[in-house]
Symmetry: C2
Subunit: 599 residues, 2 copies
């Protein structure tokens, strides 16, 4: 192996152009592809900036040096000193940004050799993700992964520039914090210096950012790691990154505008997407009523419509019992799909059951007839009225769900998305932003039989609803808002309670006794008595946002070293067994029997 | 309590100047000081930007509104709408940036009340730090603390701008990593999904940043939280922040220049200090010989000098036995302090004992005589030769330590610093940067009776010393470097080993069997076989750097929410007891008896 001594890189591979013709350059990188044409070896050399073709000619390099070029293999690390030449017209490669030039090597150094990688270092490989994660260092060499990681850097840089320019301070909050088991499960960290006690890794810097408002910092932001020890569904990571924001002396309008302008700037500067404001705003109730979702994908229509009034008072027991119990009958119109195959319809029935609906009905307005499982219970006039009311045309298919409002919303909302995908109604290049506002303050937790804060318990209830905090929590709306992009919640926040009496009332409403509230948040309740300004904030999920911007399907593609669904790192084999001495130092024991550990 | 509705802040308190005279403004903030002059109330209103005087006049506000102004107390949160007036000449306050103006209130809103704080919200308070940490939200309101936190924000912003501009990518590395018990003690995090296994919080992203080089990212940086579970000495925190850097295809010169230029830009932009490069470079051996420290404070002289040759071969057994056993006799010259009080001399003897020296001797060249505890063993000529050789003058004091070289260096190096402080030789406004280079590769760990990597085991040994790795590890120098500012190491790094054979040899030299090395770093050794570029890096301690820039004595003054020496947060009471259910979920038990927990 040779060193770079006395030879320093002058150019990046992907940046060499015909303007450099005739220049002597030094490039470094990895052998991406090597072709041998008897006495001439062509190597596509790859660095972070891209590829350039280097040429090793036996007659130029001499008999002594040429065998070194012949020894090159994929992923060898080399440095090449040579002269940039224009390629002849017939050898120009139009698919390569540097395709008009090549570098004739005058000096080659092999900085390192390489074993043959277990998969190709190129885009669009069809390789099991397990293998990609195990050899993450090779996966991360692939140009598409480099593009994602570079984009992620650009995104955070643009965010920081924006917030700095707008008077926000980035302030670091602790990672070793106090466990407050309200919300998700905490990751715990045993304390050695305080035996028997534990830190928790932060689920978010919520409390600290509010404390910073109270401490007079007025405009705070942080791009910060957060942790949730949840069972990992498809696109969750035990650690994730959040853009965290808090401001004082502002109203909701100010926060929404600040974030909207940030997003507009971000999409413009990072991916040259022109987004225009102001973003549509929709109340939570409207979003649920019209799209069956608190994060509606507005790239297509197919809104939910209520047909309860048309089907009420019939012999059809399904609808009748639903309507008598405060339920609804709602539909979506799948345009031009009246002739849906029966088999697909049956599949849709199964589909909605996954989302809590007991069943699915339909009305097919085909050219020749109206088909519906409840046809016999209603007159043709009723079907025509429904057709008119929903704006359906002949050839359209109405899918019908009857149930309690939340079930209808969920089942029909999911069905809408599914039909949007199946009917190709979703333009992948479209960006549909909106704000969902006026969230409910609480949601009822069936398992625990208590009201829980929908956002978190520091969210301010709407002034006019404060009176119902104890008597009718379900009615209380909150000063809370989410930013939604293409059906994904990318950010959410709220104005906060800044009065300790009101805060105590909210704790009471979610079933915390004053003692419990004090044990968990006592210092915060105390702190709030020393002059807390009105404040509010928001947090954006960075991983998901970058994923959408990079048009990837998995957040793992925009995280350098992600974990699997079992929260393991396949590259480093974390988590792992540790020495007993380490555990003794921490005054803990594992309850897993040794034989299990050695399985 | 009132709201801000319909009233939005137009100005920040500290930014109002006579240019705003006559304007109607809305300011918000905290009541910093309130004076009552019968019918006129003056309130210094404070926000993040500073203070401005607001005036509440009974004749302007009316009898209805005036009592509200009378009700104001310290730290109430208010909003004031009013008109900016020039103060009359005799009431101008030259000590206040806004001292030429005041705001006559036309509308007052009390946004929140406040209890009386336990200490004054002002600079230079003499309050026990425990109280400041408990009420951190109030401590952080003090202007000097706000200045520190704002400076910290500026520092990280300037760093990010610099590295971004120079082609570095900020890439996030995981917080839930694998425990590799080489180095400091790890904080562990039990894994719920992998019972019996543990993550470790990173002591640094060392392995990940090297993996990123291998993955082709070429220039990486990150401002990142790191964790070390050490017994906390004065200025350590269990979690701390690091500016972390790694680059490929570069030499040591490139890294040093990159960091030097960053520091020059940083000091200029953040605190308007003009630092000039290139920084002095000194080998580790020189630094130890001349200053008794690998992080010499060059703001003053008082270098260590070797007088072994002058005192050798006497009847004085102390020196003789030291010199026969490979030791040295060295001095520092405390100029003009020959008449040091005997009592202070005795104190210095105790002082050096703290640093491992068995004793301290001296030579006092007073006007009238030479005083020394070893005077009777040497001729006057010897004392004159020493005087000449050390450049001492009549009136100077030489302090003498005789011991093994490392002990002499440590004791005399510390004594030098102490005498520098006592004699006021250290200019607090001076910035003395230097690079210490060519560190030893290993140091001998007396307790464990083995060689240990001085920097870390990924550091590249100097090429010419590789041959001594096994035969004479103490002789091997490393391609390692530290940046030192005013006697503090602010950054340290090295070129890395990028050849897995050499890496395996270094693991062997520090006593890791191939099996142990494989268990800890196997994936890295494997990774290195797939084409690793030459690379190197450095890390800067952010907390310490900002502390020096802010001219503070404790890093706790530049961390928003620091922990105490027992690693506790006095504000939130972390770490804390947790529910047994939480521990059961994690398959761990605490070994601390319940009665202890309730102590």
């Amino acid at each position: 192996m040779e060193t770079l001594e006395g030879m320093s890189r002058t150019h990046h591979c992907g940046k060499i152009s015909k303007d450099d013709t005739g220049k002597e350059v030094v490039v470094c990188g990895w052998v991406s592809r090597r072709r041998d044409h008897g006495g001439l070896i062509f190597v596509d050399l790859r660095d972070r900036s891209g590829l350039v073709q280097t040429v090793f000619a036996e007659d130029k390099m001499g008999e002594q040096a040429f065998p070194k070029a012949e020894s090159l293999r994929s992923e060898y690390v080399i440095a090449v000193r040579g002269r940039v030449s224009l390629r002849s017209a017939e050898t120009i490669n139009p698919h390569m940004p540097t395709g008009e030039v090549e570098i004739y090597c005058e000096e080659l150094r092999i900085l390192n050799t390489a074993q043959t990688p277990p998969f190709y270092i190129q885009d669009n490989i069809d390789v099991d993700e397990t293998l990609r994660l195990k050899y993450r260092y090779l996966d991360l060499r692939r140009p598409e992964m480099q593009k994602n990681i570079i984009l992620r850097h650009r995104v955070t840089k643009i965010m920081r520039d924006y917030f700095d320019r707008n008077g926000f301070l980035e302030i670091e909050t602790p990672m070793l914090t106090k466990s407050t088991p309200e919300g998700a499960r905490d990751f715990l960290v045993p304390s050695r210096l305080n035996p028997g006690k534990f830190y928790a890794l932060p689920q978010s810097p919520q409390i600290f950012k509010q404390i910073l408002m109270l401490a007079g910092y007025e405009k705070y932001f942080q791009i910060v790691r957060c942790f949730r020890d949840e069972d990992l569904r498809a696109d969750r990571q035990p650690e994730f990154t959040q853009l965290d924001i808090e401001m004082s002396f502002i109203d909701q309008e100010y926060i929404l505008n600040t974030m909207e302008n940030m997003v507009i700037e971000l999409f413009d500067k990072a991916i040259a997407s022109k987004v225009t404001g102001p973003f549509l705003r929709m109340t939570w109730q409207d979003a649920m009523d019209r799209f069956g979702s608190d994060k509606p994908d507005l790239r297509f229509g197919m809104e939910l419509m209520d047909i309860s009034e048309y089907v009420r008072g019939s012999e059809f027991k399904v609808f009748e019992s639903v309507l008598k119990n405060g339920g609804q009958v709602k539909v979506i119109n799948v345009e031009g799909y009246a002739n849906i195959p029966r088999r697909e319809l049956d599949g849709l029935v199964e589909y909605v059951k996954n989302y809590g609906a007991k069943g699915l009905a339909w009305i097919q307005y085909t050219d020749s007839e109206i088909k519906s499982p409840f046809k016999k219970f209603y007159s043709e006039e009723t079907f025509n009225k429904i057709k008119e009311a929903t704006g359906a045309k002949t050839g359209d298919l109405l899918l019908v769900v009857a149930d309690k409002p939340l079930v209808v919303a969920q089942a029909l909302g999911e069905l809408r998305l599914e039909m949007g995908r199946r009917r190709n109604l979703i333009d992948p290049d479209k960006l549909s932003f909106l704000w969902v506002v006026n969230f409910p303050m609480f949601e009822y937790e069936e398992e625990e039989k208590r009201w829980k804060a929908m956002h978190h318990p520091f969210t301010a209830p709407c002034d006019e609803d404060v009176q119902y905090l104890m008597s009718d929590p379900g009615r209380v709306k909150a000063k809370a808002y989410d930013m939604v992009l293409n059906g994904t919640e990318i950010g959410g926040g709220s104005l906060r309670i800044y009065n300790s009496d009101l805060q105590e009332k909210v704790f009471e409403a979610i079933g915390l006794t004053p003692e419990q509230a004090r044990a968990k948040f006592g210092f915060m309740l105390d702190a709030f008595k020393y002059g807390t300004p009105p404040h509010g904030g928001i947090a954006f999920g960075l991983d998901r946002l970058v994923m959408i911007m990079a048009k990837r399907k998995s957040i793992r593609d925009v995280i350098a070293f992600p974990k699997t669904q079992s929260a393991s790192c396949l590259m480093t084999q974390a988590p792992s067994d540790v020495d007993n001495k380490q555990l003794r130092d921490l005054s803990i024991k594992t309850t897993v029997a040794k034989k299990h550990k050695e399985d």
